[in-house]
């Protein structure tokens, strides 16, 4: 069996999900609709062999809403798949990937903590770095760096 290449992975994703992935070296970047998020993750894991979970995070594009990003890898073929999806402006819900990679557990908790993105179906949806009594989500663009918070009011 010939090893998977980034171009193959992009072609299969295009065929399966009618999306337009871009290929840069060994990296396949694939923009997805939110409804495809979990299905694409399962496809990357099962069909493209992306067993390695690298990271999951978000970007706050202000009035355009959040973008959730997840990078996974097939270490044998040395191909990385970078999945990205946009939440609607003002929306804060995204399906969880914890059922696909257990590594998503802490990363999604961190994303909730920092951005206030809720991962629906996450088994342990708590803050991770900040205390449970913390107000706000610091990496949102509308959270000013000097936002007062006890005990530093």
């Amino acid at each position: 069996m010939t090893p998977l290449t980034a171009a193959d992975a992009a072609a299969r994703l295009r065929e399966q999900f009618a999306v337009e992935p871009t290929v840069d070296g060994a990296l396949v970047t694939v923009p997805l609709a939110l409804e495809q998020w979990q299905a694409a993750a399962r496809f990357a894991r099962a069909t493209l062999g992306c067993a390695y979970f690298s990271f999951l995070t978000a970007v706050d594009w202000k009035e355009q809403g959040f973008e959730v990003l997840c990078r996974v890898e097939n270490l044998d073929a040395r191909v990385a798949v970078f999945m990205r999806t946009r939440l609607a402006p003002g929306a804060d819900r995204c399906p969880t990937l914890t059922g696909v990679w257990r590594g998503a557990d802490w990363m999604e908790r961190e994303c909730w903590d920092m951005f206030g993105v809720r991962f629906e179906g996450h088994p342990d949806h708590r803050r991770i770095l900040l205390g449970e009594d913390w107000e706000g989500h610091p990496l949102r663009k509308d959270y000013a760096v000097d936002t007062p918070h006890a005990p530093y009011r």
Partner: protein, 382 residues
């Protein structure tokens, strides 16, 4: 998590035990809320965040010139590679060239840092496991002695012993001072000799073997699914080292081996790191032997904090740190500061494997397993 205390008879009582955050084996500030049945761990709730400074927000508020020296405060035990991850991301997105000499100097700094970091890991881990290992603090004091020698080298090179500010976008800030290379060779020879002494103390030590072999097994599948990296991943049978898999900073110019062990236990991780010690020394010698002439930076020295601007774009750059894949995902908007900076800390992912491997082990093994993971909490909490 259950906060229950069911007192019964016949060894079935469950006890909730708090470990940390100020536990000496926590290597920083880590709290584990363990649920025990007798001496066996049945549940663990890992509490992190005590060192959280929100580096990602800091990164958005500081310029590309200011932040590299702050980046070293994420993984402060291997500050050289943490800085390198950040400046690599800036160079990737900003398409900034790095001269060959600077790339080699970066390799030299990274490999010396790996040796220093592994010294601290070995010493503290053996101390965690206690008196059976030559009086507890013996290996610690030996290993710390070697680490000091390397910190002396860093001090001569950068003026600092822990947080260096050695890297800048486009190259390095300092070149080797006069006489440094000879001092470095002597230190490398000495450390290499003493590695044999450590192994003589540990490899056949019955207490050490009993405490590490078959303890804290991470399967190949779990390792990948969690995303652990570095010696943990290679100790679980996955041959993945970014220096080989995706060479950066001229690593393709050097000859070295990547150790892989298949057992996935604490001993396998120990063996991987002991070989890495020697391979790092080999790479450092190759740098000293063949260091190319030329400039150390493609950019002028720092005149103002806003002088580096990165065009609109994004990218993920990663390096193989002492603890594994340290990466920065950077989104630039054309200004002097990043729009978004994501740190992928190796320790964060490595530590997140604990809730999956601790259930079922004896409580005394928790410290051995945690030490073998080698977390640095500055990098976990960022």
């Amino acid at each position: 998590m259950p906060q229950t205390l069911e007192i019964g008879y016949g060894g079935s009582e469950r006890l909730t035990m708090n470990m940390g955050p100020q536990h000496p084996s926590a290597h920083g500030v880590f709290r584990a809320i363990l649920t025990l049945e007798g001496e066996t761990v049945v549940g663990v709730d890992a509490v992190i965040g005590y060192l959280h400074r929100c580096h990602e927000k800091l990164g958005e508020t500081l310029t590309y010139v200011q932040y590299p020296s702050i980046a070293s405060k994420t993984d402060y035990v291997a500050a050289m590679t943490a800085e390198l991850a950040y400046v690599s991301a800036v160079e990737l997105v900003g398409k900034i060239e790095v001269p060959k000499r600077a790339q080699w100097l970066r390799v030299l700094a990274a490999e010396l840092q790996r040796v220093a970091s592994h010294c601290l890991w070995l010493g503290t881990w053996c101390m965690d496991m206690g008196g059976a290992l030559g009086g507890g603090a013996t290996v610690f004091l030996y290993a710390i002695r070697e680490r000091e020698d390397i910190l002396d080298l860093f001090e001569a090179l950068t003026g600092a012993r822990l947080l260096y500010g050695f890297h800048q976008p486009g190259g390095t800030r300092y070149d080797l001072p006069a006489g440094w290379a000879e001092q470095c060779r002597k230190t490398l020879d000495r450390v290499e000799r003493r590695l044999d002494e450590y192994e003589a103390m540990l490899d056949d030590n019955a207490f050490f073997l009993v405490r590490t072999q078959g303890v804290g097994i991470i399967s190949r599948e779990l390792a990948q699914e969690i995303g652990v990296s570095g010696p943990l991943l290679r100790g679980s049978g996955v041959n993945h080292d970014l220096r080989k898999a995706a060479p950066y900073s001229s690593y393709e110019d050097f000859q070295f081996r990547v150790p892989v062990e298949t057992a996935g236990d604490c001993f396998a991780r120990y063996r991987v790191r002991m070989v890495e010690f020697r391979e790092s020394i080999t790479i450092a010698r190759q740098v000293l032997d063949g260091l190319p002439e030329g400039p150390i930076s493609s950019r002028p020295g720092v005149k103002s904090v806003g002088q580096v601007r990165v065009p609109k774009g994004e990218g993920y750059a990663r390096v193989e740190g002492a603890r594994g894949e340290v990466g920065c995902y950077l989104v630039a908007d054309g200004g002097p500061k990043p729009y978004r900076l994501k740190w992928r800390g190796a320790s964060f992912s490595n530590l997140s494997v604990l809730p999956h491997i601790l259930p079922g082990v004896k409580v005394a093994d928790v410290v051995a397993i945690m030490g073998s993971v080698d977390p640095v909490f500055g990098e976990v909490d960022r």
